[in-house]
């Protein structure tokens, strides 16, 4: 092997080492990016399901109460007791409005509690898995496309439900 060949070999080795180093550096700097489907996460979260059931029961109770007032109004009207019927109607509308307002405020409170919890679980989940960026897709166009392999909704949902269960 003459001197020229030796130099070429040494140079190619050096170039290979440099490119290997650059590749390693790029790989190390690569940010792990994933996304989750906000709607699916919210719908599947146990706390949300529990609150939904609580609200359903509350609605049934209140509907039964309003139904019985409505029945009373009808009976009073049938008996031509107009004054009493009018008072009962006012009571009905007042109660219905109050229930509606209370339900809306309860819904807001529950939603805030659910998202606070999910946000915290997402932070802990990302820390545990060394995830740098996690997008939340909500169908509004913020995230137009992402490959399915980057979708961690099911994983985060399982993690959140396990954490919520206190395990």
């Amino acid at each position: 092997m003459n001197r020229l060949h030796k130099n070429i070999l040494a140079l190619s080795l050096l170039i290979s080492l440099i490119s290997l180093g650059v590749t390693m550096k790029l790989l190390m700097n690569e940010k792990k990016t994933y996304f989750i489907n906000n709607g699916k996460l919210y719908e599947g979260f146990t706390l949300k399901v529990e609150y939904e059931n609580q609200l359903k029961n509350l609605r049934i109770q209140r509907k039964n109460m309003l139904d019985s007032v409505e029945l009373t109004i009808r009976q009073l009207s049938a008996q031509s007791r107009e004054e009493e019927s009018k008072v009962a109607q006012e009571y009905y509308f007042e109660k219905a409005k109050k229930f509606e307002e209370e339900e809306a405020s309860l819904l807001d409170e529950y939603n805030a509690q659910i998202w606070k919890r999910l946000n915290q679980y997402a932070i802990e989940f990302c820390k545990e898995r060394n995830i740098d960026i996690m997008f939340g897709a909500n169908g509004s166009g913020t995230l137009l496309h992402a490959s399915e392999s980057m979708d961690l909704t099911n994983d985060l949902l399982a993690y959140s439900n396990k954490k919520y269960a206190g395990k």
Partner: protein, 194 residues
Amino acid sequence: MQVNKFLVLGLSLLFIGCSKSNLSPKEMITWLEDKENGLIKQEIIDGAKYTVTLHPSQYLEARAIIENDSFMLANCNDQNCSIIVKMEPTDNQTQFLKLGVVQKEEPFGRINYYMNGFQNDIKILNGDDTLTVENLIYERLYNVSPAQLILFGFKVKNFNNSIKVIFEDRAINTGKMQFEFSSDVLTSIPRIKI
């Protein structure tokens, strides 16, 4: 015969290795306070950190021995357990009672809630049994620490079933929080070497 002797010796060593170890009172406290052993659980909600620690009867027994408290030692019962709920801000600066308050008088309402109302929002499950919360104490640390403590006791029915502590902090409006101590954890708690 020689083979049988070795077999018996081997099995005995295996049995000793697998059975619960006995620890000195000081070692016991260290063991119970080690997060890895599963008796300490944590939940963070909107800047508020709740650390729930389960103290089995071994803890009280160890403390009684270390502090040479014969009265406490005489009253130790295997079924007795206690829970300590440490409530602290995640920033370690803001007083927990002032976390997210809007009105000046809100911290006083919170103190009142922790002293009188919190007990109604605690539920303890031991398998399918619901246990009664006994002797709830609210420890206000004033401005010494931003944290607040709540301690309560209960009697466990069966250590082969998990213990689940469920509560809700209505003062902060956290929603329901659950902390489960599995039967594996409960049955792995060592005994005190006397």
